[in-house]
């Protein structure tokens, strides 16, 4: 099986130093444990610390060189088409940089591949050419799917931890650099701001309530609550959302 792992130029969550993205290192581990040939793929101006991915169990890495601010999608789509991969793995969302988490979807659309999000485990499927994917759902739930390859799968942070770094393996690993396809990014109206952790919505924490009541409200909200609708009609779903918004006082 030929597996491509898409790698983005990440930054460390605290130090902001250039660093590989942890969830992509987890994708490398899933690829390594699935067996088959794994290839790293990065489109961007420089390879930087992505060289370290070779120490986490990735044998080879292709760097598609782009100018600063070029759109990586056409280069990656071209390389993926040319490489005839059975499986393409990507992180669920990157960290910092230009990675909004939309790229896997854009690529899947361009290449006409099915996409499955949030995998935590991969195994060979019951028939040749299929893949068994364990998908992470909210609140620790898991769903097992069988998909037909080729496909694009994004990896969830709840997947097994990355393989430990081996300095010598990174030193031995193979990096091939070739020019990517120059493509200007679509102009974006998006505004960029530093990340700010949002306070949690504390349900019904009425002002003036006692400390014990506020604590109860806070812990209850943290432990979920709410209502689970299974395959609701759009109408019912909308009604439930509106009811919830009214309940917490967002809508009058």
């Amino acid at each position: 099986m030929r597996i491509a792992v898409l790698l983005s130029a990440g930054r460390h969550r605290v130090s902001a130093h250039p660093a590989p993205v942890p969830v992509e290192l987890q994708a490398i581990r899933l690829a390594a444990e699935l067996g088959g040939e794994a290839f790293g793929l990065h489109a961007g101006p420089a390879i930087g610390p992505l060289h370290d991915t070779l120490g986490h169990g990735l044998p080879r890495l292709t760097h598609l060189r782009l100018a600063e601010n070029d759109d990586p999608a056409p280069s990656l789509a071209d390389a993926l088409r040319e490489g005839a991969f059975d499986l393409v793995l990507a992180g669920r969302s990157g960290q910092g940089g230009e990675d909004a988490g939309l790229l896997p979807y854009a690529l899947a659309r361009t290449l006409g591949l099915p996409i499955v999000a949030d995998a935590v485990a991969l195994a060979e499927g019951p028939q040749p050419g299929t893949l068994r994917v364990e998908q992470a759902l909210p609140r620790g739930a898991r769903r097992r799917l069988v998909i037909r390859l080729p496909a694009l799968v994004t990896v969830h942070p709840a997947a097994p931890a990355p393989l430990p770094f081996a300095f010598a393996a990174a030193r031995r690993g193979d990096v091939e650099t070739r020019p990517g396809i120059a493509a200007a990014c679509a102009p974006s109206e998006m505004e960029e701001r530093p990340y700010r952790p949002r306070p949690k919505l504390i349900a019904k924490a009425a002002g003036g309530a006692s400390a014990a009541e506020r604590l109860k409200a806070a812990t209850e909200s943290a432990s979920g609550g709410g209502k689970l609708l299974v395959e609701p009609t759009p109408d019912n779903a909308a009604r439930a959302i509106l009811a919830h918004l009214r309940e917490i006082g967002v809508l009058a």
């Binding site: 460390h12 120490g55 990355p162 430990p164 081996a166 300095f167």
Partner: protein, 640 residues
Amino acid sequence: MTNAAPGLSLVILALALMAAAMMVRRARLWRIGRPASVDWLAGLMALPKRYLVDVHHVVGRDPYAARMHALAAGGLLGGSVLALLALVPPLGGLRLVWAIVALAFAVAFIGGTMVGRRRLPVRPARLSGGRFQRLPFLLAAYSGGALLVALDATLGGILGPLAWAGLALAAAGGLGLVLQIDRGPMRHAFAGAAHLVAHPRPSRFEGQRATALLPLDLDSPRLGVATPADFAFNRLIGFDACIQCGRCEVACPAFAAGQPLNPKRLIQDLAASLQPGATNAAYAGSPYPHAREVAGVGGPERPIVGAGAMIHPDTLWSCTTCRACVEECPMMIEHVDAIVELRRFQTLELGATPPKAAAPLVEMRYADEPGGRPLKARTDFAAGLTLPLISATGKAEVLLWLGEGAYELRYGRTLRALVTLLQKAGVDFAVLGEEERDCGDLARRLGDEATFQRLTRENVATLARYAFGRILTADPHALHVLRNEYRPFGGDYEVVHHTAFLDELVAAGRLPVATLRDVSATYHDPCYLGRYNGETDAPRRLLDRLGLQRLEMERSGKRSMCCGGGGGAPVSDIEGDHRIPDLRMNQAAATGAAIVAVACPQCSAMLEGVTGERPAVHDIAELVLMAVETAASRQAEAVA
């Protein structure tokens, strides 16, 4: 004059030739090792001193063993050499010569009896059985038989057939001893001598601590040690020098805690794997506690570590690098160096670090800090205190290195006490603030030499920008690394531990202290301060200045027991029966002291983690601050 006496000389000659052949055969195996630069001449010249002074200093800690060894080895060698000399015609005829030979073998016989008395009827757990258990009989047979022959020659042949029986006994016993040169206890005699000559850390014999790990060339084709052939040849000699006395196993904290490490067994596994087609079957000492299943096979070019090899990885990761085994080893074997070299291969080549140890290594690579915490937050412990940054002025008399402990709430209290004391004494000090990266100790002990060297180079470059007299630190691990392990990377600093520095300040009268009456404390020596750097006096002197009642634990000073916090052991987290800090805390509680005085963030964290009824844990800085504040309040009372 019977004919038995020249017979003895001839038998000994034959045995000596056989022994030489056996030694050469074993020594040829050492040549598989990597080359190392050894000053043979200096080593040979220093051999008598290294043996008689340095080795016997360690052996003498067990006076019975020292006497036993002096008698057995001295008598055996002296008698054998003299009996060989008797082959020279005029000497062989002299009764006096034979009288001396008889005396020497009598001494050896007494030594051999002592060997037996130590092992029989019940063999202590730390001593090995198997071939080792046969040793007293062989010694007794050889020396007793030779004694009969020599006595007969001295007395003019009155023993008759008894002398011939003695000769037969001596020949049989001697043959047994010679056959033990290859794999048995007698190997230590010649390998030990060779080890003392070609020792990888010769400065240990010149009064230096010589405990710094040696840098690894990151461009070499194979990083660390995978097979016996990857060790330097003089390391291989060291493994062969082991006499399996088991002092290391008694001292090892991981062994005591039931983790799968026994330094003696480790060295034996390494020595065994030299042989082509090696197995570990001949070992007859205590096993690794809860030994993990391994194939137990090896060879010069075969891997040492792994379930299919000699040593299970969990054994390597159990080590706290406390050097207690090295300190106790009478043969001066360097166990910790071997473990770190094996770990380097596991980490750098295989990426086989224990899962929980991988995370701090990643954080150190991208955040310069094992917890992945912001470097700026390192000074958060000092909220409310003024902590001068060296970047503001560019210079300070004393640079305070905070270390990893600064992030921890408990240890922050210690650092606050230290900073307060420095301010009270008017010391011109400053910290690096967010320019301080991790010192790299953890990375290096976990075998990640690449990260250690990067952090070292960056710290050295940072320190080069500032002018300071000394580096002060409360973390012995940082102290050891900054003082001893940065030198090959261009970092040569005078580093002082806070206990020594506070001792200076109190002695100079810059910190007026009151006596803390009715307080009893026992001092727990940090391995990296006591054993690694030989600093055991200053902390005790300082405690005495505070006037508290100082009690000593059974294991203290350079022979102190580890808290379990070194060498990355807390992050490797190998399962055992007990926790090492619990064992140490029990020893502290046994003194009856109310306080365990510590001087290291690791010890502080490990010992504070002990649950239940126990003495309180205080860093010495906190005790000094207590005494200084008591002095101030007493003075205030006196004025009022």
